[in-house]
Amino acid sequence: MKCEELLRMMNEYVDGSAVPGVCEEFEKHLAGCNPCQVVVDNIRKTITLYKNGQIYELPVGVHDRLHDCLRKRWQEKSR
């Protein structure tokens, strides 16, 4: 498998959803290609960083304004 093909299969490999044949090809290529190994590692680390990134706290007032607005609309609709 050439680097170009590998790049296209990158998602599947990183997500663990590559079919066994492709997975094997991928691993074979990686075994002999250091840059590609590092790229795969970089991608995994990138995803991890974002996955563990924060869910933002609502700034002050947002929750109250949101619920007030929704309550109002709800009551308008039930008239």
């Binding site: 840059p35 974002y50 563990n52 869910i55």
Partner: protein, 206 residues
């Protein structure tokens, strides 16, 4: 006390129980806000979109099929609302979600890795550093909004490829291509930031 499932709350909200709807909102408001904020990079706009998304959910509740996933549905509404704001900023007319996300010629090409190096620290150690949050948000902001959206839904929100396709109105094949592009772009930028220059190597010539 067992936690009430989303769909049970939806069912109760449909019969007129406001408290059930508000419980749903409380469950998802931070996630909706976070998605909006990462798409729009502006707290005021993010709050607007958050309100719009939940108002939209409120209005469409009667039509919502309880077997479907409430969270995916809500994220779809949020995505559409956020894209609307972005289009407005660019002076473009409002369109359907499918039109807002449709592929363009040459748009989804896969960028070849240029800067290749080991990262100086593990993601866990990086996460503990003050600068990291800002740096990763900045990298995310560099992405085109259509690629950013797919990355946020799939890799940050954890939706499946199929759910992401449903939430964005594009095909699964397009989700994969955009996701790949997003991941590679982010990898490129973050490796320039976090990479150990001493370990830098050339892309392999085959």
């Amino acid at each position: 006390m067992r936690e009430v499932a989303d769909n049970e709350l939806v069912g109760r909200a449909k019969t007129g129980e406001l408290a059930a709807f508000e419980e749903l909102v409380s469950r998802y408001e931070r996630r909706v806000y976070s998605l909006a904020l990462r798409m729009l990079r502006n707290e005021h706009d993010a709050e607007d979109v958050t309100q719009q998304a939940f108002l939209s959910a409120l209005e469409s509740l009667t039509g919502f099929r309880e077997e479907a996933s409430f969270s995916t549905w809500l994220l779809r509404i949020t995505a559409h609302a956020a894209l609307k704001v972005i289009r407005k900023r660019k002076g473009l007319p409002t369109v359907s979600l499918e039109e807002a996300t449709e592929p363009q010629e040459g748009y989804d090409t896969v960028p070849h890795p240029e800067y290749i190096a080991d990262w100086r620290l593990s993601p866990e150690k990086l996460a503990g550093q003050n600068e990291t949050g800002r740096l990763i948000e900045e990298a995310l902001a560099q992405l085109d909004e259509k690629h950013r959206l797919v990355f946020l839904l799939r890799d940050v929100e954890g939706l499946s490829v199929k759910e992401t396709a449903g939430a964005t109105g594009i095909s699964e094949a397009n989700v994969k291509v955009r996701l790949l592009r997003a991941r590679l772009q982010l990898r490129e930028q973050l490796t320039q930031t976090f990479g150990d220059e001493a370990t830098r190597m050339k892309p392999h010539e085959h």
